[in-house]
Point group: C2
């Protein structure tokens, strides 16, 4: 039969990242296009031990239906943890456990936005979230990212000129894909603009614990006295992404609506995975685990920068230095066709990177940037991949 799809989905293109992944699955290709944690980052022995204990002591709790809000001990622990460590959470806030950080974005759009409403996002921004908003029928207005975060001037113009803006979507720490971290001044300015124009903020923070240089900057949610900010956290980058467990610190009134929406999506998040996360955080030294991750990744970041400086920068490609997170944002000289460059890189030179256009609010926009990930490949693969990129670029870029 001939199928008729909803307008919101009909307009949604499959992610360009997925197309690149098709090539990246060719074993002869070195993939710098993923966004995965290093497999060396998984404390799988601890998780195995936790699992064995859960099945020995509480098998029925780990397998039965649970409540939509999430595993109560995990929610209570995270409320205290976020308050103490980040001054996040007020009396009007609560915690909802979600099926990965991604679900926070989808639920936020579902409960806050009617079709045709606008979300303001950084430009470029994380394609997964942008597609999640699009799948709800939301329109996107992008605001440029500067070296210290979103353009405040651009944000105010967007707020002034865009109709029916429901929220600002931002990744303030080690933004995906640009790697940029928003300054404290800009965080305050974004919050004040949200107050002035009475919109909400979704603060997506999957990489906040992965800082390799400099000092932590307070999250926007830490100065939220209005109940205006939905904070998105995730265990994907600090425990394991396959478990699909995220958490949002969210005003209770909004959470109630998110719970109703989540009931209709997956009833609740896998309870075994929630119990694993709770035990992982409370029965082992979680801060030490975070420190281990930072050590592992900052070594890889140093290697990536050294290789880029040696093989890629001399060809005229620049990049944003790494202070945290998983990604490096690279810029081609203005005269180079970025899409052609990325396509030739993977097809003829067997190294996969992600074209910058994939991350734009306007899918037809142009970009001369591409994204590299340095956490997924082994050190050997990382070196091989960057060398291939440099060898190709040195011949291709005039």
């Amino acid at each position: 039969m001939e199928y008729r799809f909803s307008k919101r989905i009909e307009n949604l293109k499959p992610s360009a990242i997925r197309e690149i992944f098709k090539y990246a699955s060719d074993p002869s290709v070195v993939s710098l296009s993923a966004g995965n944690p290093s497999p060396d980052a998984f404390a799988s022995d601890k998780i195995a031990e936790i699992c064995a204990n859960l099945f020995a002591n509480r098998p029925k709790d780990a397998l039965q239906y649970s409540i939509t809000e999430g595993y109560t001990p995990l929610r209570e622990h995270m409320l205290g943890y976020m308050k103490q460590k980040h001054n996040i959470g007020r009396a009007f806030d609560d915690i909802l456990i979600t099926s990965g950080g991604q679900q926070i974005m989808e639920l936020s759009a579902k409960v806050l936005c009617d079709e045709g409403d606008y979300v303001i996002c950084e430009n470029p921004s994380f394609i997964g979230s942008l597609n999640s908003f699009r799948s709800i029928g939301v329109k996107l207005k992008g605001v440029d990212v500067e070296p210290d975060g979103i353009s405040v001037c651009g944000l105010e113009t967007a707020l002034k000129e865009t109709p029916n803006v429901r929220f600002i979507y931002t990744i303030p720490n080690f933004q995906n894909p640009s790697g940029v971290t928003m300054s404290l001044e800009k965080r305050k300015a974004v919050y004040e603009l949200a107050q002035k124009y009475n919109v909400m903020i979704i603060e997506d923070n999957p990489y906040g614990d992965l800082r390799y240089k400099g000092d932590d900057i307070p999250n926007i949610k830490s100065f939220d006295e209005d109940g205006r900010v939905i904070y998105g956290g995730s265990f994907s980058k600090v425990i394991a992404p396959g478990l699909r467990v995220g958490y949002t610190v969210v005003p209770q009134q909004v959470m109630k609506k998110m719970v109703v929406a989540k009931q209709g999506e997956d009833v609740h998040t896998n309870i075994l995975a929630q119990m694993i996360c709770f035990d992982f955080i409370t029965k082992y030294d979680f801060e030490e685990n975070l420190a281990n991750l930072r050590r592992l990744y900052s070594k890889k970041a140093e290697l990536a920068e050294r290789l880029l400086d040696e093989y890629v920068v001399p060809c005229g490609i620049t990049y944003n230095h790494i202070s945290g997170g998983l990604f490096i944002w690279c810029r081609l000289p203005e005269n180079v066709d970025m899409l052609k460059f990325c396509s030739l890189a993977v097809r003829e030179h067997k190294v996969a990177v992600v074209p910058g256009t994939a991350f734009l609010a306007d899918e037809n926009g142009s970009s001369n940037c591409f994204r590299i990930n340095f956490t997924t490949p082994s050190d050997e693969k990382l070196e091989e991949g960057i060398k291939r990129l440099g060898a190709f670029a040195s011949g291709y870029i005039k």
Copy 2:
């Protein structure tokens, strides 16, 4: 701040079941209101063994990001299994693994329906699915359920008179909440009507393996030569619901859109849980496990019927006899106020059942029925609960 919610969510009431659950969590209340498998049904020793093996042999695969479509060995196995056992699946079909059966309903509505489009459902029907459709902004048109399934005459009238119908939602086996199973003739008639009016069918079959009496009836999907039927399956009732793993046999063209939508919801289903399901089905005797479940539940069903006949039927309450599934649908005499009856039952007589109005397509409709679950409580609790219901009803119903 004052929140403004989307219209689709603003109109969605929290499920009446949840309100009943508030009382049901009082330990002095006997809950016959859940929809959980018996905790005795979980083969937790096997699942513990599977987990230990997975962490010993493939920890990184079980913890890393995976693909949206689902764990490939599980998808391939289920394609063959459904074809061989149920003649389900044609060359144009594929399998998508979902986060529980619930996600199939939400994804189907998201990719097939624009806001204001109609879905035709059985009346009564599973509230979780109805709310899932409502959360997409879909309108519902209910068609009465008769003892052999949906009214075919009512269905044709609904198809003729309702604008923009995108699909028919049906639970043909041991329907939740009515317990009714659709006859083969009606399954064929429903498929033919879907052809005549060119709409799709979502066939939700979480209880199909739990038949205690009579012979299996072919699923609607088994005669789908058009690619018109989305078949919904789940491991919640046959392995464990806490794992949140479902699967849909779905035309590839529709699946592609569902994959894009699912990427935006949770990226992929918990991979550890998918690997557990695969090993559970392929490394142990899955058919023997199903036979064990049927033995366990048919005993409980017999007990429930015996108790109802002794304590509840003499008060003038009738019920649909149990041939499978988890639920018993009870009918009060016409002159009894059902909502008041259910409310007094839980508040004053400490036995929780679910009011029939919770399951109506029209939330303001009336019903003199209520739903009982017989699988979750222990035999002792089941006996105590039905006795309490009878003691209350014998005094209350004149």
